[in-house]
């Protein structure tokens, strides 16, 4: 609309100003714009424009209304009777064809709203129709013409003449992209008889094809394709419908597991679509045969007819438009996905073949290459998954993991070592280089992960050496990992101010120092209990879970279920903490100290009872809602506490703080 006026003023009035005046300004705003005389264009045209605009803005009061929600009764919006005379007068007076056509539009629209509520009005008595007919040939068949025609279609709809209404809407639909949405929304065949009559109104095969196209996008794409193909196989009305069939099939399959996720009705539909589209592709008589061959190939691929899919893709290949980057890329993706699907084993020859496509995908993934509108993520992920699967079967775990990183890989340190070797290999093959473009970690990440694992094995010297290699000091602890509490409360510990910052490496070095002191027999109780606290706090149950954060483990979250099963036992275990509490117990001098060590060991023992459930293989994909945590098991340490240390102050403290212990005491 704005561009029409922009040309009308020979580009002398800024389109931003026109946009504002036409679409946003109020009647008063228009007036002041005119009075200000600021627009530089043909004076006559400007006057005609502002005269027209003033009328058009008045018409918006009845023609461009929104639904009003109110508790007060709303007056019915009706076009004012006197408005007709001013419109007619302006229309008659206007000599400027551009303006006159718009006044004609205004008049037809005015009559449409005036006659809307009178459902008994006969077409021959309608001013809407009469005004349209009287001047339709006096103006060019442009967007204005079709906007006016849209109101005529609306008139017929209001007067239940659905056959004509739908036919006229289809003419509007066919005119331009802008006209498509309003006319498509207004297209509503009611009875089969209307629809048949609409078809008889169509004068050319193109008009008939448009009607079937509209039926297709709304209701039945396959039927429409058949009808249009019979009318004119070269019709461009087929393209959108074909795309829709593909989209619907993908929608049914998406999120599921390919063909097996379809129910029987969807399978039947896929078969029907595949057969019909394949038949058209085979005829090779459409305007874009490659489009049909690709679609037929893809539908056959989805139906697991790989041989047929390949034949269609091969037929498409020489037909592809080389200049169309998107189509070429789409072909490449389809061809690749089929190629991978048919792979049974991967040898150096296959690897050599995969280098180019995998590099291309990696370029797309990293944004090194972009092809507008191309969707490739699902195709890439599913093909990498398949390739990784084949490598796993072949026992080539490093390759499988490089292409599709998986946590189980890291259970075996040997695997990590092999991965490190590959990362450090000086003369990598082309395929190895390509493959590693998909691997998310670098050498330092692996060293860091190994350091963490060694720490959880109480191999502190080696852990420190490995962490040094990772060139990282690790994360900053959110609380002091050497403290203990009767009841775990991470928030309380995190809130407490720390005198100095402690990083993962500091934790390890402190443990190392304490261990050396224990070895020498110095302050064994104090050192052992502090080490025990550190191991407790580094586990899932403690205040320093951050110790296990890292690229490889990806173990975050507030429940053990968010820790991958591969690392769950390691991070949940309190066995090492328990070992050090017992060392402290043996070195303890007072009953208070002994009670403390025994109680902390009981916490480790209790947590192990939860771990039995969390680490069960069948619960690896469970969550808080699906897994029942079995009742806490009261172990040996509660009994020792109760029998030997009930005269300590600490015993009184735990009775107060620890509900589990209190229930134990009450029961025994």
């Amino acid at each position: 609309m704005v561009s029409d006026w922009y040309s009308y003023f020979d580009k002398k009035v800024d389109s931003g100003i026109l946009n504002h005046l036409l679409l946003k300004a109020s009647a008063a705003g228009i007036d002041s714009a005119y009075q200000s005389n600021s627009l530089k264009a043909d004076k006559k045209k400007l006057k005609a424009f502002f005269d027209y605009l003033s009328l058009a803005k008045s018409a918006e009061k009845f023609a461009a209304t929104d639904v009003m929600y109110s508790w007060e009764p709303q007056p019915a919006v009706k076009p004012p009777v006197e408005f007709e005379a001013s419109l007619v007068k302006s229309f008659k007076k206007s000599k400027d064809a551009f303006i006159k056509q718009r006044l004609w539009f205004q008049l037809v629209r005015y009559y449409y709203f005036s006659e809307k509520s009178d459902s008994t009005l006969l077409p021959e008595a309608s001013k809407t129709l009469k005004t349209f007919e009287a001047s339709k040939n006096s103006f060019p068949q442009n967007m204005m013409h079709y906007r006016t025609l849209g109101y005529v279609a609306g008139w017929h709809y209001q007067h239940k003449n659905y056959a004509v209404s739908n036919y006229l809407n289809s003419l509007c639909y066919n005119y331009s992209v802008e006209a498509k949405i309003p006319s498509e929304w207004s297209f509503h065949p009611q009875e089969e008889a209307d629809w048949n009559k609409t078809l008889t109104l169509a004068k050319t095969n193109e008009e008939r094809a448009t009607l079937w196209h509209m039926l297709g996008i709304n209701y039945d794409p396959l039927r429409a394709i058949g009808q249009i193909e019979a009318l004119d196989p070269k019709s461009d009305k087929l393209d959108l419908l074909l795309a829709r069939i593909i989209n619907i099939t993908e929608y049914h399959i998406s999120g599921g597991n390919g063909l097996s996720s379809l129910d029987s009705a969807e399978k039947r539909e896929l078969k029907q679509n595949t057969t019909a589209i394949s038949n058209i592709a085979l005829k090779n008589n459409t305007a874009k045969p490659y489009f049909w061959n690709l679609a037929a190939g893809y539908l056959n691929y989805l139906s697991h007819n790989y041989t047929a899919a390949k034949t269609f893709y091969q037929a498409a290949k020489p037909q592809l438009p080389p200049g169309d980057k998107l189509v070429m890329a789409q072909y490449q993706i389809l061809d690749w996905v089929l190629y991978v699907k048919e792979l049974k084993k991967i040898d150096p020859e296959v690897e050599a073949k995969m280098v180019a496509p995998l590099n291309w995908f990696a370029d797309l993934k990293t944004g090194k290459d972009t092809i507008s509108s191309l969707r490739f993520a699902y195709a890439l992920d599913s093909s990498l998954h398949q390739i990784a699967g084949i490598y796993k079967k072949q026992g080539e775990l490093v390759k499988a993991n490089a292409l599709e990183n998986y946590t189980d890989f890291y259970i075996q340190n040997n695997n990590i070592e092999q991965m490190k070797t590959l990362l450090q290999k000086p003369n990598k093959t082309a395929f190895e280089k390509t493959m590693l473009r998909y691997y998310p970690f670098d050498l330092q990440d692996l060293y860091y992960h190994q350091a963490q694992v060694l720490a959880y094995q109480d191999k502190i010297d080696e852990a420190i050496a490995m962490m040094t290699k990772s060139e990282s000091e690790g994360d900053k602890m959110l609380a002091n990992p050497f403290t203990m509490r009767i009841n775990d409360c991470h928030d309380c510990d995190h809130q407490r101010k720390q005198s100095k910052e402690i990083y993962s490496m500091d934790v390890l070095k402190t443990i190392q120092l304490m261990k050396s002191q224990i070895k020498k027999g110095t302050n064994v109780y104090e050192n052992a209990i502090l080490i025990a606290n550190a191991f407790y706090n580094m586990s899932f149950y403690g205040n320093s879970r951050i110790f296990y954060s890292g690229e490889v483990m990806q173990s975050g979250g507030n429940t053990p279920f968010e820790i991958p099963i591969a690392f769950r036992s390691m991070l949940l275990s309190n066995k090492i903490a328990e070992k050090y509490y017992l060392i402290a117990l043996r070195a303890a001098k007072t009953n208070e100290q002994k009670a403390r060590c025994t109680f902390m060991a009981s916490k480790c023992e209790k947590n192990e009872s939860y771990n039995l459930v969390y680490t069960k293989p069948e619960n690896s994909n469970g969550n808080e809602w699906t897994v029942t945590i079995e009742p806490v098991f009261y172990g040996a340490y509660f009994s020792i506490l109760n029998n030997e240390y009930d005269n300590t102050k600490f015993y009184q403290e735990i009775i107060k703080e620890c509900g589990y212990f209190k229930s134990y005491v009450n029961e025994h």
Binding site: Y69, S70, W71, P73, H188, P189, Q190, E191, E192, D194, W195, L215, N218, Y219, D220, R223, D263, S264, A265, E266, R268, E269
Partner: protein
């Protein structure tokens, strides 16, 4: 005084038992009234509807005056589909009904209850005055849930105070079964909606969701313990489910047995009341594809007799009970005759 109370209670029970025995043997002497809902936006009665209303319903009508829905743009509740009286209403037995979406109470803040009550009552009075309707009671239809109970009940309480009318509320079957959880609305009477009890299902074998004895039985065991006197709403509507590829596409009241019996378009299937389309075509604005299934769910006089029979044995005796048929505006008068309504109501 207090010593007498238990005796009185016994007396009441004895009366109840004798009444039940009496009623069982002579249902024709029922005291229940017959009435109809009118739910369409344009109120217009034709001669047949007027006649039925006079003959069976003593001109008693429950007219939907407007809906209240939450407007997500303005974040306020507004009336929609306000009734438009094209003919005058018969007689003086009109009860206005307001349908309120549960979402309204989900979104409405406690501070907004006041103005919703005031606005609703004002609009009711306005519409009644303009159309010369005198009413004694207001009925509110809302499928409230646990989360909206507090707001909804507070709305009802205030509306009762401000309108100075008797207040009625529709009660769904699950609200009977779980009355202590879902609460009992603070109104004078409830209207038990004895329909839509089953789930809509694409499975051609599942029973009629509008009414079936088995689904009903799961809900009505505790009916006599419900803490409000109950009227009963019974379904006199039908619809069909359009099923494609095993999924329900839409439910249409406008596609009924007359359409589905068209042999050029549909064939019957092994399942009763399930038809299969044998062609592609448009009907009533609906596109039908070959292979589509239409599952017709009807309420018939026979079915309602059965429903009445099942329900009446579980209801407390109430001589002022009204049986309200849903609904008159779309009622198929070839399927239901005046006599049917009289007979069905007489079972209560």
């Amino acid at each position: 005084m207090s010593n007498n109370l238990p005796c009185l209670r016994h007396l009441k029970i004895i009366c109840l038992i004798s009444l039940t025995v009496f009623c069982d043997s002579c249902t024709k002497n029922s005291q229940s009234n017959t009435a109809y809902y009118y739910w369409k936006q344009n109120f217009k009665l034709n001669a047949a509807q007027t006649e039925l209303l006079e003959k069976t319903g003593n001109n008693k009508l429950y007219i939907r005056f407007f809906d209240i829905k939450w407007n997500t743009k303005t974040k306020l509740p507004y009336p929609e589909a306000i009734v438009n009286f094209q003919t005058t209403t018969p007689g003086r037995h009109i009860t206005p009904v307001i349908f309120i979406t549960n979402q309204t109470f989900e979104k409405l803040s406690p501070a907004g209850i006041d103005s919703l009550v005031r606005n609703s009552n004002q609009l009711l009075e306005q519409l009644a005055r303009k159309n010369h309707i005198v009413y004694q009671a207001i009925q509110i239809d809302c499928d409230w849930t646990l989360s909206t109970k507090a707001t909804y009940f507070s709305f009802l309480k205030q509306l009762r105070t401000i309108s100075k009318k008797k207040l009625e509320a529709t009660i769904r079957l699950h609200q009977i079964k779980y009355q202590f959880k879902t609460g009992v609305p603070p109104v004078d009477r409830g209207t038990l909606m004895f329909y839509n009890m089953g789930k809509l299902s694409a499975d051609p074998k599942t029973p009629n969701s509008i009414y079936n004895t088995k689904d009903a039985a799961a809900y009505i065991g505790t009916l006599n313990q419900y803490l409000l006197p109950l009227d009963v709403a019974l379904p006199v509507f039908s619809w069909s489910l359009q099923i494609r590829s095993g999924k329900i596409i839409q439910v249409y009241a406008k596609i009924g047995v007359a359409e589905l019996e068209n042999k050029m378009r549909y064939k019957p299937t092994v399942n009763e009341n399930v038809y299969e389309a044998i062609d592609n075509f448009f009907t009533a604005g609906v596109y039908v594809k070959t292979g589509d299934l239409f599952k017709l769910e009807e309420s018939t006089p026979q079915l309602l007799q059965q429903a009445a029979q099942q329900l009446s044995t579980h209801l407390n005796t109430d001589t002022t009970r009204t049986i309200i048929y849903y609904e008159l505006g779309n009622l198929n008068l070839s399927a239901f005759k005046a006599k049917d309504f009289q007979e069905i109501s007489a079972r209560f």
